[in-house]
Amino acid sequence: MNTPQRLFVDAGQLSDFGPGTVTLIHEANCYLSRLDDGGLLAISRKCTHLGCAVPWVVERGRFECPCHASIFDSTGNVIQSPAPRALDIYLITLTHNRIMIDTSKTVKRSVYVAEQLFYPQELG
């Protein structure tokens, strides 16, 4: 009954994700975070402390883990421990203006750096 994991998840049309938004992509079990400068990050929901699902709290604009109160900002960077490192990310590609998230490989990182951002080149 274990369904094989899909490699690419279609998150939707690029224009659906405005700057400064964080959207839950259920199928990929991750959040698509679009920063103010248009850069994209596919951030895993799994807390790096002990694996709990981290919800995005809209009112405070941050991820707050219910298990041990770790807090992360919209890039997945740790604001408050005990989480030892930033939330994992997935690679993003753009196909016909649709955002595709590669869920086959989790990219671990200690902190957020600008190189992790994906900048889409929108088709005219």
Binding site: H26, L50, G51, P66
Partner: protein, 341 residues
């Protein structure tokens, strides 16, 4: 042949002091009885249980609400599992303070440690099977702790979960271990454990008077049967009055406010809140395991463990117990400290 087989497990006569209840507190016997109870109730539950996500939860609900005596059998299996772990730990304490681990009892000590590990594994693998929120997140937390082990942590976690997170493959792996490999391992190591005790001349009796011997049948047998009846009654009454928990169905997207590892791993989760992950989840447990493994060599010629060995052992045990109690009763949502009353 029957008599011959029985003789391999039991002598015909035992020293009068060996049948005194306070010598062993009946802990090994209680643990044996509980394993047998687990095998029987587990066998019955397995007739109705389906080891697939969603189905597993529904089948446990079915057992709990519709099957004849289903609730009682599940309760009995659930609570006996927990009590078995407590009894096994008390048995370990009793054996330690009796010094019953040096030659010729090394085999008994090591097979006992393996059996303790099996009880822990059986409890852990069984914990996930109801596939409710409590089970799902407790196993998620406990297995995530593995990832902190340097170098092999991620590999171990993937191996146990059958992937990077708890899913259908994990349920399948846990169920297979819980219902096939572990019962077989129990039978094998319990047999070896009993054989070792028999070979070493029965339970350890200080200054046993070999002149004052009693026949095993009926003197020991009657006492054992009476004790087994008392333990069975206690477990049955407990199972009648306290239901095994079954929360909402597992939802990988929604972590409940209070998430804790199974109580026997809570001390590790608690340690993780207070110190470096590598120290908490790798070095300290490893140090305690090595201490237990080397114990027969640390006090080779002594009757009882030396004061130094006792201090180390008691310190470890007190730390584990204090952290477990804190984790179980003094932690609330977000693992914040609170008073249980």
């Amino acid at each position: 042949m029957y008599k011959n087989f029985f003789f391999h497990l039991r002598p015909r006569k035992v020293p009068a002091r060996a049948v005194r209840f306070t010598l062993t507190w009946g802990l090994g016997g209680a643990a044996t009885l509980m394993v047998v109870l687990q095998l029987l109730t587990g066998l019955l539950l397995n007739f109705a249980y389906e080891p697939f996500p969603v189905h597993s939860y529904l089948s446990v609900q079915h057992i709990q609400t519709e099957l004849f005596l289903g609730r009682l059998i599940r309760n009995l299996h659930h609570w006996t599992g927990h009590f078995l772990l407590v009894v096994a730990c008390l048995h370990l304490l009793r054996v330690f303070f009796s010094g019953a681990y040096v030659t010729p009892r090394r085999g008994t000590w090591y097979s006992g440690l393996v059996l303790l590990l099996l009880v822990l594994t059986a409890n852990f693998t069984g914990y996930l099977l109801p596939w409710d929120q409590l089970a799902f997140w407790a196993i998620t937390i406990a297995s995530s702790m593995l990832a902190y082990i340097p170098v092999v942590g991620d590999l171990l976690q993937n191996l146990i979960l059958g992937g990077t997170e708890v899913n259908g493959a994990t349920l399948h792996i846990f169920h297979s271990f819980h219902t096939t490999l572990l019962p077989l391992a129990f039978l094998f190591f319990m047999s070896y454990h009993f054989w070792c005790i028999r070979k070493a001349g029965g339970v350890k009796v200080d200054g046993a008077d070999r002149q004052n011997m009693l026949p095993v049948v009926p003197e020991l047998l009657v006492r054992e049967l009476a004790f087994a009846a008392v333990v069975s009654c206690f477990l049955l009454l407990f199972a009648m009055f306290f239901d095994a928990p079954l929360t909402g169905m597992a939802n990988p997207s929604l972590t409940p406010e209070t998430v804790k590892a199974p109580w026997y791993f809570l001390w590790l989760q608690e340690l993780l809140l207070h110190m470096q992950p590598v120290l908490a989840l790798c070095l300290l447990p490893l140090a305690f395991s090595i201490f237990l493994l080397l114990l027969p060599f640390l006090s080779q010629k002594r009757e009882k463990p030396s004061l130094f060995v006792q201090v180390i052992f008691i310190s470890f045990f007190l730390v584990i117990i204090t952290l477990t109690i804190t984790g179980v009763w003094f932690r609330g949502a977000g693992m914040k400290l609170l008073l249980p009353w």
